[in-house]
Subunit: 158 residues, 2 copies
DNA sequence: TTTTGTCCTACTAAATTACTCAGTAATTGC
DNA sequence: GCAATTACTGAGTAATTTAGTAGGACAAAA
């Protein structure tokens, strides 16, 4: 899993959509101004988001973008995966030579870590972030505790 | 926390050092050949590692690099921080405009995630990887469980 | 004193990131 | 129908990062 600023831009934009898309679609021009991201870069990001069904575009005057699904059914991992392509490159089979086994050690380390991050981000939805913004701190703590508990349980079971 | 291939290279090289540095120093030329990393790039990485005291260089014939500390006192996070500079860029105060609070939401999300990753990688040492390579699978599972348990406990306490 | 290696600086190539420009397509209001 | 608005598309470009080259200077062993 890659954690780039590109993914952050996408999450920020999607959050903007979740917050402001309640009454009518939101234009990229608005998001561009709100978040300080260039319009054309947003267009590229939203092309990727659209192809994954995370957003729905409406053309013409008064148009803009809606979320493709409910905000509590869009995880942060969904968004990042959509824009970051995610061809996980650490697979030993094939390109890399893992003859002496050392490289495989770091590979498995990275795979493990990547999976941990993925699980973490899969358990956080756009809606969770919205709730967080609405000063519902208690709710937030519960959600976060539940998310990280999954991490713990997953490994303790092994 | 950044997870780049640069950091992976560094971890791989350090693991090579931990495995082959038991009898005498290891030359960068050896690591270069073993791991398929260019010599000059390794020199850059090791300059950073050396400045942080993670390795110790010995000049002249028969020279090379030793680990700067015992392998069980060097965490993966140490290595990545050394080469990746880590100027965490998500701090709201200052450069970015967080006027409407939306950006702050993603900032705190990223900060949280970054911290989770950091904790995860801090609890894994070079020695853990070496043990793992020695087919001590049971040991590995115990270590991993302990490491991830920290993640769980940290949040459950909140 | 020659060889082997670290150490140091600058430069270059490739990839990625972020952005620009110039359009086309669909929808609305006049 | 026509103009305005907005999503879409693709080519191109600047800035940054990553990775690798080149050419040394210094230190120590042979």
């Amino acid at each position: 899993m890659r954690l780039s600023t590109k993914g952050r831009y996408a999450v920020t934009a999607m959050l903007d959509l979740a917050l402001n898309g309640t009454d009518g679609p939101v234009t990229l021009a608005d998001i561009s101004e709100n978040q300080g991201i260039s319009l054309s870069y947003l267009e590229q990001l939203f092309a990727a988001l659209r192809s994954k069904g995370l957003v729905r575009g409406v053309r013409g005057p008064g148009g803009g973008y809606y979320l493709g699904r409910e905000s509590d059914e869009i995880s942060i991992a969904d968004i990042i995966c959509a824009v970051d392509e995610w061809v996980e490159f650490t697979r030993c089979k094939g390109k890399q030579n893992c003859h002496d086994g050392q490289r495989c050690l770091t590979h498995s380390l990275w795979d493990d870590l990547s999976q941990q991050i993925f699980i973490f981000l899969t358990d956080i939805t756009l809606d969770d972030l919205v709730q967080r913004g609405a000063e519902r701190e208690e709710e937030r703590r519960k959600k976060r505790a539940a998310a990280t508990q999954v991490l713990g349980l997953k490994e303790q079971a092994a």
